[in-house]
Symmetry: C3
Subunit: 460 residues, 3 copies
């Protein structure tokens, strides 16, 4: 089947249409939260705040910027490992994230920051919008190279919507803890993306197999993504934790987990290669699994050694997944998972969810102190009959809800994306920037200077 990949009218129309809708909805609904409003100077007097530093901005802005880098440079460059899909990896990630954060501000705003008339936004909304889009970036990894930017915008619109509903169920109805989003962001995003990839299965994808691998430099570009994700993950997992010790603890735990994860990823990568050589795919991905796995428990009393243990396990599971599970998924379950998001976000997300359930079950006054326990789990505010055991069961329920939402939502969205008029590439042109991008011609001759002979082949 020949699809028309010329997006000349489809892409501009959907972009402009979505943006106009955003402007109208923002005009009707979005206003500044008190902390970002000029009336804050009066609020300060009323609340008897002595310093401008009590503005929420100063608590969260550095973390926000780190999260922002993870979404745009981290996810964007992580996916540039493909030899001829770098423009699309970075560019489409840029596009979907830029749209997604706007829609997420609205969706999350209506569910969490609505005062009856307006959505009041502050820096925490910006972080949550980035988080929400993070789950879309995860799903993008599963379908990378096989979809058009029009499909990505539709997927973003629908996934952000589902994400926000799922997040509302988990955080507001089940009142689960999920600081770094092992369940809401990673497990949800991964299984949503995998389900979409399953629906969009391409039996003849081997026609573009030659472009599905990396080249030397593309793997270095991908390492830029990996490292910024790895370095800033402590900010990700602590960004919306309670002020003070909770943010502090989440950083220490994530730092530990990620460090352990690098060692086990390297160990397994070497052990699973017949000559003991390391594989960049594992280093680029599995070394991040510790951050995913620690997402739910980041600000709980898992202690530094518990964090190391989670990182240890996640690094092993993730690398094993790349070696054994990804080929199995493709050959038996017909799920073509381009970036292996199942290994980086899916399995570690489930591990994180389970860890959260266990840690909540064993929460105690011994571990947290009386006030600490109440503050950490929000007990006392409205939850008078709270018990660790109940919290543990609710955590587990949250994991199941996320997985169910991902599967059902992924099927619906996948079916919509299968419609033949979204400009998707034919099987033989997958993983190829040239379908959607103007590609520069390589120079015919650079022979102006004798010392400048790069890319010129030796004479035959």
């Amino acid at each position: 089947m020949i699809w028309n990949t010329n997006l000349r009218w489809r892409l501009p129309v959907i972009c402009l249409l979505l943006e106009v809708v955003m402007i109208v909805l923002f005009g009707v609904f979005v206003r500044y939260d008190m902390d970002a409003d000029p009336h804050w100077v009066e609020e300060k007097a009323i609340k008897n705040l002595t310093t401008d530093l009590e503005n929420e901005f100063y608590y969260r802005y550095p973390s926000f910027q780190d999260v922002h880098v993870m979404i745009f440079v981290g996810f964007g460059f992580l996916m540039t490992f493909l030899q001829r899909y770098g423009y699309s990896s970075v560019g489409f990630n840029f596009l979907l994230a830029a749209f997604g954060i706007q829609w997420a501000l609205l969706m999350q705003g209506w569910l969490h920051s609505f005062d009856g008339r307006y959505i009041l936004v502050n820096v925490e909304n910006l972080i949550n919008a980035d988080f929400c889009v993070g789950s879309v970036c995860v799903a993008f990894g599963a379908v990378l190279g096989k979809v058009s930017p029009v499909q990505l915008l539709i997927m973003t619109l629908l996934q952000v919507t589902l994400f926000s509903v799922n997040e509302y169920i988990l955080l507001n109805l089940l009142e689960v803890k999920d600081a770094g989003g092992s369940m809401t962001i990673h497990a949800f995003g991964a299984y949503f993306g995998l389900t979409v990839a399953w629906i969009l299965y391409r039996p003849n994808l081997n026609q573009s197999e030659g472009r599905k691998s990396s080249v030397y430099h593309s793997d270095l570009f991908a390492m830029i993504g990996t490292l910024f994700l790895w370095m800033y993950w402590p900010s990700f997992n602590s960004a919306i934790s309670n002020h003070g010790d909770a943010q502090h603890r989440a950083v220490i735990n994530t730092y530990c987990s990620l460090a352990a994860c690098v060692l086990t990823s390297m160990a397994l990568s070497s052990a699973l290669h017949r000559k003991g050589k390391l594989d960049m795919v594992h280093i680029q991905n599995a070394s991040l699994a510790g951050g995913v796995g620690l997402g739910t428990v980041a600000d709980l009393m898992i202690l530094p050694f518990g964090s190391l243990l989670i990182g240890f396990i996640c690094g092993i599971v993730s690398t094993l997944g790349f070696v054994y599970l990804t080929p199995f998924l493709e050959s038996r379950l017909r799920i073509q998972d381009t970036c292996g998001v199942h290994n980086l976000h899916g399995l570690p997300g489930i591990i994180g969810g389970i860890a959260g359930s266990v840690m909540a079950s064993i929460a105690s006054i011994d571990l947290y102190g009386e006030e600490g326990l109440a503050y950490t789990f929000g007990v006392g505010r409205s939850r008078t009959n709270w018990s660790p055991n109940m919290q543990g069961r609710f955590q587990a329920a949250g994991l199941f809800v996320s997985l169910a939402m991902a599967l059902v939502g992924g099927i619906i969205v996948g079916v919509i994306l299968r419609l033949p008029f979204w400009g998707q590439p034919p099987d033989e042109n997958c993983f190829d920037d040239a379908v959607y991008w103007e590609i520069p011609k390589e120079p015919k001759s650079t022979a102006l200077h004798p010392e400048d002979s790069s890319f010129r082949p030796p004479e035959p």
Copy 2:
């Protein structure tokens, strides 16, 4: 005409000379502001400050570091899109910015932080010096590939001087608002650079046309620059705003504007290509125009939807500029604008200036609250007869002053740079690192390992 491009004595002499002058002037004039002085511990007692956090450092340091990244990685890598000019793009940007921040600390210091005997510097001075150099980086984009590092140092010396005078007129005499520098940084820098490029017009530049385009990997390097500029722009536009709600608001507004801008850039890029393909030049540049356009109004009450609207417009105008205006400027006005700074900084800078004038005119107690209005516009301190209307007119005047300074200054500096002994490259060697850099030889053979066959052509 054959110019001598051997800089063996010219570049070292000017670098060392400038640096010695800097050391002497710093020795005579520059001291630490109280917040960075060991006597601050006494100051704290006098001012009755209860916490070290009241040190200005904690309000502004995270923003400073983000701005710093924008100047050195952002601008530096944005210009690496040229296939054989990456060393110069990053390296000369590094050189001019490193010199420029020193000279800016002095120039801005004498005009803004002089206590009669010493310039007292703190983190805000560092941010302002980076801002000032930002305008030189903008101008560098217009002349990229056609000037020597000696010319760049001279241009930096003179442009920083003019920038500081212009900034003083705007901020201190006209008392305009320009949080993110749409007028002082972007419009000034762009039109200054374009004027210099106009004076330095090279009729035979087509002789190096082959190197004026990108190659696949160079466009990915440029995206590193683009993304760091895009992600940290909220810090840029909020870095020197008032503490508290103003910084907070500037971040939210810039975040919104930039997000909208990405969608309209993509839309226009696709719509203007005969096959609907996207052009990396637009994504690299036009997607940033929303940050420029929001510079002046960043901390005003433009509301989130107003920010989206500015981003919407800037993305469209900027992409149209790349497609239609840049060729026109070159063929008709003899302005060779290598990076298209007119589209990214010029036009959006003017849009930003106009938006500032409009927003100031409609400022009211309804929008800001009484105290908020006074705090935002600095009313009451010295400006008893202040009115929104007057502020609006002063904003407009500020834009015109900036453009006039840029044109007049650009002509003077351009004429100086035309002198034939600054080591500029001949027309056929423009856009070529090999003129000023030792270039590594590409490997003759990498045949030691069979699996390592990169860059080796197949046998004929």
Copy 3:
């Protein structure tokens, strides 16, 4: 001699073993400091703290993240300049740093944060662990390309141990000032690494000479490392300074020193080339020497012009070192210093140590104020008979202790690493990723699209 470079069991076993030991030791010893513990809410009440911002987290977290980027992206990418060693540069740096920070948390914890039963960690411990690993990254630069990852893990284990002991002697016994670690991190790391390289001397290394240089793109990757090191160095030198003016001053000083250093590096690079061309090696490395040289005095009253002066000198010394000293070290002293760490960390580290001694000797109440002097040098707490002169002599002693520890430690570690069973590469395979990494095949044909002809040679 043929060494076996198949690491299939050696690397996994050592990684897993080390990580298991870490988990056990963390389980026995490591707990959260009060600032990261849920009991902090009670502590706040006891200490009468009115705001969560008084948590140490908010003073140091932004600096921590910057330091983290320097270690992983900065050092990692700085070393990617080699044409075929990018995977190893980034990947092995990642591995050794991820292990090193865990071991450093323990070693430094026992010596500095041990309450008799537990090591109590907070964000300052994380920064110090990163610092400690920084010195291993420095040493890695000296042996880059000539060692296996197994050797690197052993080196890391032993160097972190020695670093912690040396640091304890300097900071706790000699009570020297060394904010940015000119002595403890840079001089120690460099001379330790050089000594190891001396012991591991390879007389036939010229067999892999062809791979010891850069290619065009690899130098651009290296500039990513350079710039992130350069931009975030102010955070490095101020990260663990006293709250308030000391952190603030350290930032200003480092900013100045680094700026000056860029100009003198460029000047010398051009002056020392017969055609006046710049050398990327100098720009990548010597432009950072000002940050190293300012490490010890960063938060002392060196004044901005003093900082410029140190940067000025370090840029010159470092570039001269690359041109004259590195070849001399290799040919005469049989020290093969792959990255020239002697020029970037060794000599500037010594300059920094000397500057610290001088600055301490001239400390006075005039310069610092009475309280400022006491606060800066920790006088009064326990040091009643303190005098500037004594402090100066102790600073000098600290430098000598660091150098002695580096030499003795380097010899011991070098001898251990010479054992023939660590999987080191043979002389002809040094600087080659293919020894330890699965390398992607370059594409045979990318001829699916006519516009996509990159890397394809013209027909013969």
